[in-house]
Assembly symmetry: C2
Homo-oligomer: 195 residues x 2
């Protein structure tokens, strides 16, 4: 199929990641197939396993890429709208998930085998996104409440996440909720005001 010198190791890894990410975006986690990825880039399954070691590591790599795109999306939203930065964050959370539902859900659909710790690379990626929010929450809080920022930010992420998830998975539709974003933003405002 593929010549040995067609791609270096790094190029091959990028090739698989590109196609895997594309396929995750198209089909979603439940229908994702490592075999199909291999087929589409013209390599065998064996090569894919040589490069990534296991299915879990491939998914982890794909989700890490999604996290990077998500963080960039949030930063772009923050940069383009200097006015209400908290609103920009909530809006960025929603718009990325809505624009990339399969990729976004794959982050939470995939779970490592029990006992397996999250590799450092991925953990760092998550921390980065959390830190963006912590910094903004701290800046928006009155000076005497700054020490609460980290804990509050984590809690607000969970709050927005719950709304975003219900918006994408159909729960809010079933409940008759028509403005998930508005509701999430209002909850965030409630708690920022209380702090």
């Amino acid at each position: 199929m593929a010549r040995r010198s067609d791609h270096s190791r790094a190029e091959l890894e990028a090739l698989i990641l590109d196609e895997g990410h594309r396929q995750m975006a198209e089909t979603g986690f439940a229908r994702f197939s490592a075999r199909e990825v291999a087929k589409r880039i013209g390599y065998s399954i064996g090569t894919l396993y040589n490069v990534f070691g296991s299915y879990d590591r491939l998914i982890l790599a794909i989700n890490t890429r999604t996290f990077q795109l998500w963080a960039a999306h949030l930063r772009a939203r923050l940069a383009e709208d200097g006015e209400d930065r908290i609103k920009a964050l909530v809006e960025g959370y929603f718009s990325f998930a809505r624009g990339n539902p399969n990729l976004w859900m794959a982050i939470y659909d995939h779970r490592l085998p029990p006992g397996t710790p999250m590799p450092e690379e991925f953990a760092a990626q998550r921390a980065e996104l959390t830190d963006i929010v912590i910094a903004e929450v701290a800046a928006a809080l009155p000076a005497d409440a700054r020490e609460k920022a980290a804990g509050l930010a984590r809690s607000l992420i969970a709050t927005v996440h719950g709304h975003c998830l219900f918006a994408l998975n159909g729960t809010f539709l079933l409940m008759g909720e028509s403005d998930p974003f508005g509701a999430a933003l209002q909850r965030v405002r409630d708690s920022m005001a209380a702090a």
Copy 2:
């Protein structure tokens, strides 16, 4: 394997559901196997498909049972503690999920094929749980804010859900959050006070 008269149709359905529910609790959605359920109750896969029609319908039936147990759990919590009913609700949400992580996550791990509407039976079950919360939120709100109860309740469910999910899937651990329940309850208090 199994004699025809061993079980009536209704008994057989209950038998499959019992074993399926048990297995979902033990192994979780990702490792759940319809074949294994059939094997354990001494029937063939074919029979299981004759009774439930498809994998999706079996999972739906299992998840519906989980929803019933969950609603009962919430009602029990409300009944045993008359003091702070909102806290009892949040506590009931968390303790059911923590006590039955695989069953609880299966509700959200399973997604119907795109375009397939949720069968009425399951939709009604969800609505029941939502209605419990709406009633309690309405009762805890000042009389002049009652009309906001339904929308606020939906939003608070999403809020608590986000915290509960992050507690179970390890996100909060990664973030360094040690008291997800306390954080969820605080967010609910913030928004109840603001309403």
